[in-house]
């Protein structure tokens, strides 16, 4: 006979104000198998927990019901409590009389009656509980970092420094990401490349890090501690082990192509490295533009390559990597400014994006750091910056703030005033948002010391007139139309999710929001974890972020991943599906239903009379099963049961409340 203890919580006045605790305890004392009932002001407090432990010892309890808040809050707390008193932690049931009772009802009498029913159901269910144990699985002590921008670089270095192997997968030919394209970084104006490239070099030189550049993640199988990742190493047409990055090939290559790195403002060759400090410094042939691939002749690069590194018939290579944890750092893309026809981006060459401005102002950029307008190469005298282009605009599907534009526009204003003597800078804004250390001061510097004129209002139209770009807007502080005759217009582009972010999310089995940004497990308390154990987020793939925040998040993700890899073995979920093989007909309807690929077929032998028969039944992999219960619904034979929520247990609850 089970011996059940019921502990009713007041939760201060949260429960006690709406539910008559005295009536609940009296009713509980009459319920079957209940041998002890207590109530506490705060059961989760240390004295509250101590009273549970004491009662277990005193009354020889073998099952416990706690009538309190949602199991999401304190189920784990009380599992530990009864475990400390020598009970199996799964011999516990929570009756949620707060979120599902006192908080949502006003009528004290009815709420008390409902609380009693909830306790009655919990008592009936816990009587059916049995001890559960969880299986353990080993941890592959290696991490994968997907994406080689500043987030991925920082995460990889931190995990590697913690002593674990790291595999970095970057789809472009080089590390660096967006940060490599930037000129200076706010709010301290250090040169972006100067602080980034040492870290890029550190990644390739780190003995614990393996870098797969120009590679993409094809497939992710497995589970926390034991992921199996398929990586496609795209053919560079260059043998990475031989290429010295000497540059003879791209000097001689006759094909000029618009440079992606310079956003089309400069050119590169068909065999190229994206920028001089690229890491790894290995050439890549762009097969779409290389004459050899188009017409079958040329091979000039091959002739001049002293290292004999050119391999025209190189094929993509598929490799399999086993890792215990994955950090996703796949970054963002710029909002496509063409969506704002009224600003004329794409139509007028002197309307450019913020990132294009970065390339124009950068000393290693296409203009060697001289700000020249694209149309005629003239140095602009009046520059207009328009903020929130692709941010805070529901009509364009981007209702959120991109968080970086206020600061980078202030930086652009400062750089313009520094580089072009006597220039005039006007900035159209809706709000100036500077929530960061030194950020407000930086913005004040732009407007006070560097003379940027901030105009509050959204620009309605940009059009050319006599060699100038006319910007029409409103100064809402004056309530006046403003017309600025500018030489160059810079649109502060917002950040949006990578075009294939959702595809990546599906490969990884993590969730994403309506804008395609990957979702953290909890916005405040689990900011770098995903809902899939062992997969962590870093940087702008989770939402718009500047460099300081990205680095901080990457460090956080790395510490979570390292903590996971430090463990000898992982304890799996105990409340998982189990198969009653005697009932299972082997139809395997459950197999496609399982979102975690935890169910497979297994062959068993049975003796029937004198004969031994073999047949197929379903089998659940305890390391993969998350206990979602989808299979139990699909099972036609009722052979599948979810431990902790068996059909028998649930029916006992129903029976208790509808006798």
């Amino acid at each position: 006979m089970p011996r059940i203890g019921v502990f009713v919580c007041w939760c201060g006045s949260n429960i006690a104000a709406t539910v008559d605790i005295g009536q609940v305890t009296e009713a509980a004392a009459e319920m079957p198998h209940v041998v002890c009932v207590e109530d506490n002001k705060y059961t989760c407090s240390e004295p509250g927990q101590a009273s549970i432990r004491q009662a277990i010892a005193q009354h020889g309890l073998d099952r416990v019901v706690v009538a309190a808040c949602s199991p999401r809050m304190h189920e784990n707390t009380f599992r530990k409590t009864i475990s400390a008193a020598g009970l199996n932690p799964y011999l516990l049931e929570i009756a949620n009389i707060r979120e599902q009772c006192s908080w949502v009802h006003a009528d004290r009498v009815a709420a008390t009656a409902k609380a009693i029913d909830l306790v009655r159901m919990a008592v009936a269910k816990v009587a059916q509980h049995s001890a559960l144990t969880s299986s353990t699985s080993p941890v592959t002590r290696r991490a994968m970092v997907i994406g080689g921008g500043i987030a991925g670089i920082q995460a990889a270095l931190d995990i590697a420094d913690a002593g674990h192997e790291v595999v970095v997968v970057e789809r472009s030919p080089t590390l660096g990401g967006h940060m490599a394209q930037l000129d200076k970084t706010f709010p301290t104006l250090d040169c972006s490349a100067c602080i980034l490239t040492p870290k890029m070099v550190e990644v390739v030189q780190h003995p614990k890090i393996t870098l797969y550049a120009y590679s993409e993640v094809e497939k992710v199988d497995g589970y926390v501690g034991s992921f199996k990742v398929t990586v496609r190493r795209k053919a560079r047409s260059v043998d990475e082990s031989k290429c010295t990055g000497c540059g003879a090939c791209w000097e001689k290559c006759p094909v000029k192509v618009k440079s992606e790195f310079d956003l089309g403002l400069g050119t590169r060759k068909a065999i190229y490295v994206p920028f001089p400090q690229a890491v790894p410094a290995k050439a890549t042939i762009d097969r779409e533009h290389c004459i050899y691939y188009l017409r079958g002749r040329c091979r000039i690069c091959e002739r001049f390559c002293e290292a004999k590194a050119i391999v025209f018939d190189q094929q993509d290579e598929i490799i399999n990597v086993e890792v215990g944890a994955i950090v996703v750092a796949t970054g963002f893309q710029q909002f496509d400014q063409a969506a704002y026809g009224e600003y004329g981006y794409g139509e007028y060459p002197d309307v450019i994006t913020g990132l294009e401005f970065e390339r124009l102002v950068n000393a290693s950029g296409p203009t060697e750091g001289k700000i020249k307008r694209p149309s005629d190469g003239k140095v602009p005298e009046t520059v207009v910056f328009i903020k929130c282009v692709g941010s805070r605009d529901e009509h364009k599907g981007v209702p959120y703030c991109s968080r970086t534009c206020c600061m980078y526009t202030a930086k652009h204003a400062i750089l313009t005033r520094e580089k072009i003597h006597g220039s005039k800078v006007f900035i159209f804004y809706m709000d100036v948002r500077t929530p960061g250390k030194g950020y407000e001061e930086f913005y004040r510097r732009a407007s006070e010391e560097d003379g940027a004129r901030y105009l509050r209002g959204r620009v309605s139209r940009v059009y050319p007139k006599g060699g100038k770009m006319v910007v029409l807007g409103e100064d809402t502080l004056l309530g006046r139309k403003v017309i600025v005759e500018a030489d160059l217009v810079v649109l502060a582009s917002g950040m949006i999710a990578q075009p294939d972010a959702q595809e990546m999310a599906r490969k990884l089995g993590v969730s994403y929001d309506q804008h395609g940004f990957l979702t953290e497990a909890h916005p405040k308390l689990r900011p770098v974890e995903t809902n899939t154990a062992g997969i962590f987020l870093a940087g702008a793939c989770q939402g718009p972020k500047d460099i300081p925040d990205t680095v901080a998040q990457a460090c956080a993700a790395a510490s979570k991943a390292a903590a996971l890899l430090n463990r000898e073995a992982l304890e799996a979920e105990a409340m998982i599906a189990c198969v009653d093989e005697a009932r299972c007909s082997g139809c395997l309807w459950c197999e496609p239903v399982c979102p975690y690929k935890a169910i497979s077929a297994k062959t068993i032998s049975e003796r029937v009379g004198r004969r031994t028969l073999t047949r197929s039944v379903a089998e659940v992999n305890p390391s993969l099963c998350h206990g979602c219960g989808a299979c139990t619904v699909a099972c036609r034979d009722s052979a599948l049961n979810l431990l902790g929520f068996t059909n028998q247990q649930i029916l006992a609850e129903v029976e208790a409340v509808c006798p």
Binding site: L477, L478, R480, V482, I483, V484, E485
Partner: protein, 192 residues
């Protein structure tokens, strides 16, 4: 209201000149509007105090100097005391009056100029204000002979308007103040 054409409609250096004369940086203003909200005479102003600052920031000299707002400012300095950016707004208004008088743009506000002129002339000659003389001088200058006449009658009946102007002892001190201001202004003019 007509549109601002930037930077064309601005007078380059105007904001800097006002900042220098006022001894405060007008560009520090982030347009929160606290000055206008607390100003006791803002209801009578054609531009609110924060709008004056805004126009100064954008070098809109002609438009600012045609405004009456800075002439109406009572220099109670509520705005300066409350400003979160420490912009000394009352000093800015002073600076605008100074620039306005010097550049003659005050023609846009002839009565205000007449009032200030009458006040200063009387103080310079007598060392203190003579209400009746001030009224007469202002009336002649503004050519508004019968405006506010009912108020004048009331003041007369209560004996508030003396016929003979009083004189103070230290008139030469007052004259000295006027002289030094003139010298200072000449110096300012020379610097520009």
């Amino acid at each position: 209201m007509k549109a601002l054409v930037l930077p064309a409609s601005g007078a380059p250096g105007f904001a800097a000149e006002v900042s220098r004369l006022a001894g405060t940086d007008v560009q520090a203003c982030y347009a929160c509007g606290k000055c206008s909200a607390g100003c006791p005479v803002s209801a009578s102003m054609d531009y609110q105090p924060h709008q004056i600052i805004r126009l100064v920031q954008l070098d809109q000299k002609d438009e600012v100097l045609s405004a009456s707002a800075f002439w109406l400012c009572a220099s109670c300095v509520t705005c300066s005391v409350r400003c979160p950016r420490e912009v000394k707004l009352a000093q800015v208004m002073d600076a605008l009056r100074e620039i306005s008088r010097r550049s003659g743009v005050a023609a846009g506000q002839p009565r205000i100029a007449a009032f200030y002129g009458s006040f200063l002339d009387l103080v310079r000659s007598g060392g203190r204000l003579h209400e009746l003389g001030m009224t007469a001088m202002y009336k002649l200058r503004s050519r508004d002979l019968f405006g506010d006449i009912d108020l004048g009658v009331k003041l007369m009946l209560r004996g508030k308007l003396k016929l003979i102007p009083g004189r103070i002892k230290g008139r030469h001190h007052v004259a000295g103040i006027f002289r030094r201001v003139r010298e200072h202004e000449a110096g300012e003019g020379g610097k520009r």
